[in-house]
């Protein structure tokens, strides 16, 4: 039985119950206008709904009854006992049909003509046919006796659903929470006494409580499909109205979310789908001209993603016209020409979320949406969500909505820092590392920034007590690092103690605390105490790490694109070497930091070396030359490594680790440096790692690493910084590299007849992004079958999946030179073998 019918039956059964009572009241007080209206309204509703559902038999009976009631209500026919009996008979007939519907999902067969005839006769004020009880019949119970409805097969089954007020559910929820707490207390008590006879029944109580809790939770969750149910119809009507052909695709309709959130997003979603159809999609003839299929497509896609629901509403229409938006922005004085000139296209697109930028006229008529997008954005933000836009002119527009699951049970790790306990959702926790105690890893400090060497990686750390401005624990020194994954970043959170994991119910924090973004909510633990739930995203933001891809992009857009801008922020290691100008290198490139005793440094052929992990590691003095006599007793060394080889760069002093967006000015370029950038308020030189690696020795990249043998590789990367990192690394490995700043340029090369053996592409780029680029390549043209490697800092599994489905052959992290070379070699080798 479909949902619609089930809802109808539930509603109709409720209506019928109310009708029985109302009709009896009406009989007693035939002039009760209010009762009459109520009866009329209920019957009218039943009739209306069954017409909609195509239940013809039900509709005819209800319609005949409604006619009679209509005349009663209008006062053109006196209410008689006989009339009421007739209506009751009609209700019984309806009830019979409804029972049949419940049992079989279809209207049972039956003959209603005599009943309808009698109802019609009553409506026309004629004397009732003889078959009926006389109007003065003393007992109305006699009336329904001519039951025209055959008993439904299987009899009346109970309704499939009942409607319960949300309040009742909320109360239940609260009681269950209480029960859970009490249960937990009992368990704690029982644990203390071993011989307890309560142990077994308590265990059962515990299980039942858990099941009950889950059951009650479930009652609040609804599939998002409920909010979509009306959309196919809406899109169909919209298509007819606008003369467009529209196909609606819905994916992930079963994704569940809290009903409260569902209610709140229903209208915005409808609005956005309407917008997509109205303003996003072109007319069929325009689409054909643009070389697209006649039928436009609107897609709705919902999925769970790390405690959030992500809903994507996309179309393959004309996309936003940045030029039009720009003009409107200027006309409305929302930004100056100079400001606009410095903005990326996406930044300009985002103007449609500005209040006052709505009202169709200027924007929607020509280029895109605008109707009330500010309202949509406000609504989303009110429930703690975000909305982002991606649009390509001529290709379509999609809106990405991310909303939190306000009410969800999550498994959380309970930790202590600064004497207070906090919960960290397990979902983001990658691992736990014990630090500080004997034999365990040690936290090191680079200036004031704590870091941890974890499997040859430098993990940036944040001290939770410090971040929350709590007093550090007295016995500081030993503790734990909770390694958490936040978007593409991995971050270690230093805590004093780690307790259990516990299933918790996330409750939103009070409005007066909403500004504290470090907390994702609060909850009550088994011992009855309140505990704050940490939001790793908030912590990452507070520490300056990019929170998630979308937000990192948004931040990036806020930076005028004067020079080459690296994607999101990059963790940089700042150090001093040679002169006073601070120098920087991406932290991700540095394998380890070492303090080498001066005595251990040897010289071979004038080059300093150190025995390191059983091998000789060349050391490069960044200041140009190295004089053992002037060397400090302990020499700070940045270790760059690649599998078995490693190279050390000697620096004077390690200053800090900072998160910075790089705008590199190549003007100050000199050998060994990529250029300079302003980092932490100071002009800082960026180390050209590849150059120094070459300096380390001719054979450093020799041998097996020289796999390229002149193969031609195209690199598509918007950031000059990364181009400068990747090109030398590839050239050194023997590839002939051509680098272009964007996908459009790459496509121009293709259309110009250039040939390559493999293509490396960034994912996040202004204009056409990596996914779109991959799709464009795979669709047609001479480059269709070339190996295509995504080069990205986004390494989440879903990104990789997305990359593969867009047509990428492989997915490699930006800094991972070894992996890149290997991937290239593999991709290039495969076709030869095949």
């Amino acid at each position: 039985m479909d949902d619609l019918l089930a809802d109808f039956l539930t509603e109709t059964n409720e209506g019928l119950l109310a009708l029985d009572a109302a009709l009896v009241r009406l009989e007693r007080a035939p002039q009760g206008a209010a009762t009459l209206s109520e009866v009329f309204r209920i019957v009218h509703t039943i009739k209306g709904t069954c017409g909609f559902l195509g239940l013809t038999r039900l509709e005819r009976v209800a319609h005949a009854a409604e006619n009679v009631l209509g005349r009663y209500r209008d006062g053109t026919l006196p209410v008689t006992q006989g009339g009421i009996s007739l209506i009751l008979a009609a209700l019984d007939a309806i009830r019979g049909i409804v029972a049949g519907l419940e049992a079989t999902g279809q209207e049972p067969a039956g003959e209603d003509a005599p009943l309808i005839a009698r109802l019609d006769a009553e409506a026309e004020g004629q004397a009732p046919p003889a078959a009926l009880a006389p109007p003065s019949a003393p007992s109305p119970a006699a009336a329904p006796e001519p039951d025209p409805v055959p008993a439904a097969p299987g009899g009346a089954s109970p309704p499939q659903t009942i409607r319960v007020s949300v309040e009742v559910l909320e109360d239940l929820m609260m009681l269950v929470s209480e029960l859970v707490l009490t249960r937990n207390q009992l368990l704690q008590l029982a644990r203390a006494r071993e011989d307890s006879a309560f142990a077994v029944p308590l265990q059962r109580l515990s299980h039942i409580t858990t099941d009950l809790q889950e059951g009650v939770m479930k009652t609040r969750m609804q599939p998002i499909g409920h909010a979509w149910a009306k959309l196919p119809r809406l899109v169909r009507d919209l298509g007819l109205e606008l003369g467009k052909k529209i196909a609606l695709e819905m994916r992930g309709a079963e994704t569940e979310l809290d009903r409260q959130v569902l209610e709140l997003i229903k209208d915005p979603l409808t609005h956005m789908v309407r917008n997509s159809g109205d303003h996003g999609l072109e007319r069929p003839e325009e689409r054909l001209l643009a070389g697209k299929p006649e039928t436009g497509r609107i897609t709705l896609d919902a999925r769970h993603e790390g405690g959030h629901i992500v809903i994507e509403i996309g179309d393959d229409g004309r996309g936003l016209n940045a030029e039009r938006i720009r003009q409107k922005v200027l006309a409305q004085g929302l930004a100056t020409e100079a400001e606009l000139a410095g903005m990326s296209e996406r930044e300009i697109h985002r103007f449609i979320f500005r209040p006052g930028f709505s009202t169709a006229a200027a924007v929607t008529a020509v280029s895109g949406r605008g109707v009330g997008m500010d309202v949509v954005k406000t609504n989303m933000e009110r429930i703690g969500g975000t909305i982002d836009i991606r649009s390509r002119e001529g290709r379509g527009t999609s809106f990405v909505i991310k909303i939190p699951l306000t009410l969800a049970i999550v498994s959380a790790l309970i930790v202590e820092a600064g004497g207070e306990r906090f919960a960290i959702p397990q979902i983001g926790v990658v691992e736990l590392v014990r630090v500080g105690s004997e034999g365990a890893a040690q936290i090191e400090h680079i200036k004031d920034a704590p870091v941890l060497r974890l499997r040859d990686r430098l993990l940036p750390l944040v001290d939770l007590a410090g971040l929350l401005r709590l007093r550090p624990a007295a016995g500081a020194g030993s503790g734990f690092v909770v390694v958490t994954q936040v978007g593409a970043h991995v971050l270690g959170i230093i805590v004093d103690r780690v307790f259990d994991t516990e299933e918790i119910v996330v409750k939103p924090v009070a409005p007066i605390l909403r500004h504290v973004t470090m907390f994702g909510g609060n909850t009550i633990l088994g011992d009855g105490s309140v505990i704050m739930i940490l939001d790793p995203n908030g912590i990452a933001r507070a520490t300056g790490l990019g929170a998630d891809a979308a937000e990192a992009e948004a931040e990036r857009e806020a930076v005028p694109q004067a020079g080459a801008t690296s994607e999101a922020g990059t963790a940089l290691l700042l150090f001093r070497a040679g002169d006073a100008t601070p120098k920087a290198v991406p932290l991700g490139l540095v394998a380890r930091l070492e303090d080498v005793e001066a005595g251990r440094i040897e010289q071979v052929g004038g080059r300093p070396l150190v025995q390191y992990r059983g091998r000789l590691m060349p050391l490069l003095p960044l200041s140009g030359h190295w004089d053992p006599a002037l060397a400090p007793p302990r020499q700070p060394v940045l270790v760059f490594g690649d599998g078995e080889r490693s190279m050390g760069v000697m620096v004077d002093e390690i200053l800090d680790v900072v998160e910075a967006r790089l705008t590199i000015d190549p003007a100050g370029e000199r050998p060994g440096y990529l250029g300079s950038a302003v980092v932490a308020g100071r002009v800082t030189e960026l180390l050209d790692t590849a150059w120094w690696l070459r300096e380390a020795g001719e054979d450093w990249f020799g041998g097996a690493a020289r796999t390229g043998s002149g193969r031609r590789v195209l690199l598509v990367e918007d950031s000059a910084f990364f181009r400068n990192l990747v090109v030398p690394a590839l050239s050194a490995a023997g590839y002939a590299v051509t680098a272009v700043p964007d996908a459009a340029e790459a496509l121009r090369l293709r259309d110009g007849g250039q040939g390559f053996d493999a293509i490396l592409s960034d994912i996040t780029m202004p204009g056409m992004d990596g996914f779109a680029f991959a799709r464009a390549l795979r669709q047609e043209g001479p480059w269709r079958d070339l190996p295509l490697i995504a080069l990205t800092s986004r390494g989440a599994p879903e990104d990789i999946e997305r990359g593969r489905s867009a047509g990428f052959t492989d997915y490699v992290a930006k800094f991972d030179r070894a992996a890149l070379l290997e991937s290239l070699a593999q991709c290039l080798a495969a076709p030869v073998l095949a």
Partner: protein, 163 residues
């Protein structure tokens, strides 16, 4: 909440006989904050609790003492001494007067909670213009109670922290 309302409701019932038919006089729960007698409308009060385990909330506004568990609901505790710019409590435990605002529960921490008094609106004096500006914001007027002065607290304003 019903059982816990009983204590307050009992006090309320005792106060009710004094209520005239005009009903212009509201009943107020009296509380003491650093020696200052204050009153909150008894109808706004959901619960009165003794000393509670309060979880501190880092980075919260200073007026927020923390949060506590009231039968499965999380209640945000506001320290009235801090809210009113009074010196912190040195000894003894605080009483919680639980009020509701926009479906959220808040607990106002006071040194002690007294009786429920009907206070006719006609006896109310406006805030003296010389009153501390902070207090001007949260007080709805002053009543003379024998020797003492009672400040009527505007719960809405008391909870308007950081707004």
């Amino acid at each position: 909440m019903h059982q816990d309302m009983a204590a307050v409701a009992g006090g309320l019932a005792a106060a009710r006989p004094g209520r005239g038919p005009a009903a212009a006089d509201e009943a107020f729960l009296t509380l003491v904050v650093a020696g200052q007698l204050c009153g909150v409308p008894v109808l706004a009060v959901r619960d009165v609790l003794g000393s509670q385990a309060i979880t501190r909330i880092p980075l919260a506004p200073p007026e927020v003492a923390g949060s506590l568990n009231l039968r499965g609901r999380i209640v945000t505790a506001i320290d009235l001494r801090r809210r009113l710019g009074l010196p912190p409590r040195e000894e003894g435990t605080a009483m919680s007067v639980v009020v509701e605002r926009e479906d959220e529960l808040y607990s106002l921490l006071a040194d002690s909670v007294g009786e429920v008094l009907p206070l006719p609106a006609r006896d109310r004096a406006p805030n003296p213009p010389t009153l501390d500006p902070l207090w001007q914001g949260v007080a709805r007027g002053v009543h003379r109670l024998g020797e003492k002065l009672l400040i009527l607290l505007d719960v809405e304003q008391v909870l308007a922290i950081g707004a």
